[in-house]
């Protein structure tokens, strides 16, 4: 298996607080990998470090074997790292179609065009429509995002990330805030993602994690506590202690 994304001794401190403490982590090509850990463990921070939204205090990040640690976020992202946000980060007053088209246009280079109206860029719109169709959002294409139900907004989060056609996709709690009756819809969408995309999912819903992930990394206080198959993680005493202990169903 090829390694899609890798970190070596990655560290990040906010003042005296160390939120990533020498993380050695690798994500294989086509992975279905979950990152779990208690609140404040540093999961979101790791995503921010991987995408380049935050600069690490030390350590390296490799994308498909290449050191991208000092590459600016936009450049790194254009090489294939997509992400979603734990708290919706959408273009709220724009339509669903515009939300996705913005991402598509960045990837195809259409976004650099100064004169031809966006509306007449059919290649961008067609791709965005197709993507929305695959996520069951076609009927909402021309609605403003802020008028959508929260569950659908979570799907738009994913749709924007997919508009970039990422090779690595970092999903930060995609089902957070979605009523449990609707979270199966998110799982369906995740299950149907192209197998070649390497996916790292952060999720608190253990049901979803164990159904989706083939490998799990447990993060606690900025360090990797353990990594293994869902079985191994479920039966690890340390993991139960710091994280799963309170959850009776595991």
């Amino acid at each position: 298996m090829t390694i899609a994304l890798e970190t070596r001794r990655l560290r990040k401190s906010f003042g005296a607080l160390t939120v990533a403490d020498g993380i050695d982590f690798s994500l294989e090509g086509g992975a279905r990998h979950a990152l779990i850990g208690p609140n404040g463990a540093g999961k979101t921070t790791l995503v921010n470090l991987l995408t380049g939204a935050l600069a690490p205090s030390s350590g390296q990040i490799y994308l498909e074997g290449e050191d991208v640690t000092s590459l600016a976020q936009a450049k790194r992202v254009r090489r294939g790292i997509g992400r979603t946000f734990q708290i919706n980060s959408l273009f709220r007053s724009l339509t669903v179609l515009d939300n996705v088209a913005l991402a598509v246009a960045e990837r195809t280079g259409a976004a650099r065009k100064l004169f031809r109206p966006a509306f007449s860029h059919d290649e961008v719109k067609d791709e965005a429509h197709a993507l929305l169709g695959s996520l069951g959002l076609s009927d909402d294409a021309s609605r403003a995002v802020r008028d959508l139900a929260y569950g659908k907004q979570r799907l738009v989060e994913i749709a924007i990330a997919l508009g970039m056609r990422p090779r690595v996709l970092l999903l930060d709690e995609p089902a957070a805030g979605v009523p449990s009756a609707e979270s199966h819809r998110i799982l369906e969408v995740l299950a149907a993602l192209p197998p070649e995309i390497a996916i790292l999912i952060i999720e608190h819903d253990m049901d979803l994690v164990f159904r989706f992930a083939r490998r799990i990394t447990v993060l606690a206080a900025g360090a990797i506590l353990m990594e293994g198959s869902p079985q191994e993680v479920a039966h690890d005493a340390r993991v139960r202690q710091v994280y799963l202990g309170e959850r009776a169903h595991v």
Binding site: T51, L102, R107, A118, F119
Partner: protein, 319 residues
Amino acid sequence: MYSAPARLRPLEALPWLLAIAVYFAAPSYLPLGAYVFIMILFTLSLDLVVGYGGIVTLGHSAYFGFGAYTAGILAVRLNGDPLLGLAAAALAAGLLGLATGAVILRTRALTLLMLTLAITSIVLEIASSATALTNGSDGLHSVPVDPVLGRFAFDLFGTTAYFYCLAVVLACWTLVRSLVNSPFGAALVGSRENDARMHAIGAPVYARRLQAYSISCALAGMAGALLTQTTQFAGLSTLGFELSGEGLVMLVLGGVGRLYGAFVGPTVYIVARDYLARQTPEYWYMGIGVLLVLIVLFARGGILGLVDVLVNRLRAKRS
């Protein structure tokens, strides 16, 4: 953007038809009309950065004034061709925008606002001390202006000035309209709406903003050049931040981020000022103040926002 076509609607012909109508109906207002066009262009350039780019600035007069002086100095020293002066002003102000924008656009919000203020102060300071070029606080008087295209001389009634400014505004409006409707404009709105997300989809946000900023500065410079050419005078007031503030007020009055706010705002503002200043000169500022308070309280989207609300109500009633 991608969802809605940017077709030319019949209503968009209105400003231009009105401009022609004014020529026939109120010929004595042509000089005031030319001034309105100049402020429309300035406000349009502001709308590109403030309304679409989300960059709130109090420094745009720096580029307006830089353009005004570029056109003035060029005409006094070398050549009085108005189109040449206009092009030189656009280039000079655009380059100044590129150089200053490269520094200030790395910052955000209040810091950015303060830096834009600093730019006007610096440019103003330079202009008032470089007396050999600018004539200091006296300004450049009797700037020579050749006939437009070698044929249309500037006349006492302001006819040439009126149509010259109208043509320049029309050309610039076409440019800005196509910019804001393009994918580039959509991406600009994207970073205004959600900067973090634009970064996360790989958009070179800083470079885009700088590009928009420079274009806007070039347009502001052209507005400045028009003022020099139509009044044959370039003075330090073109560089003061009062002008930047006035531009913002006009934009807010008309409606921010909607292109036509830049037409409505300056027109209402300048016509109201002209009227009020004649009726009760001492209360003019109070009049505009009251107008602004009303806008901010009842019509956040400016006059055009108010029109939207009324039209929507009428439609809702009908259906």
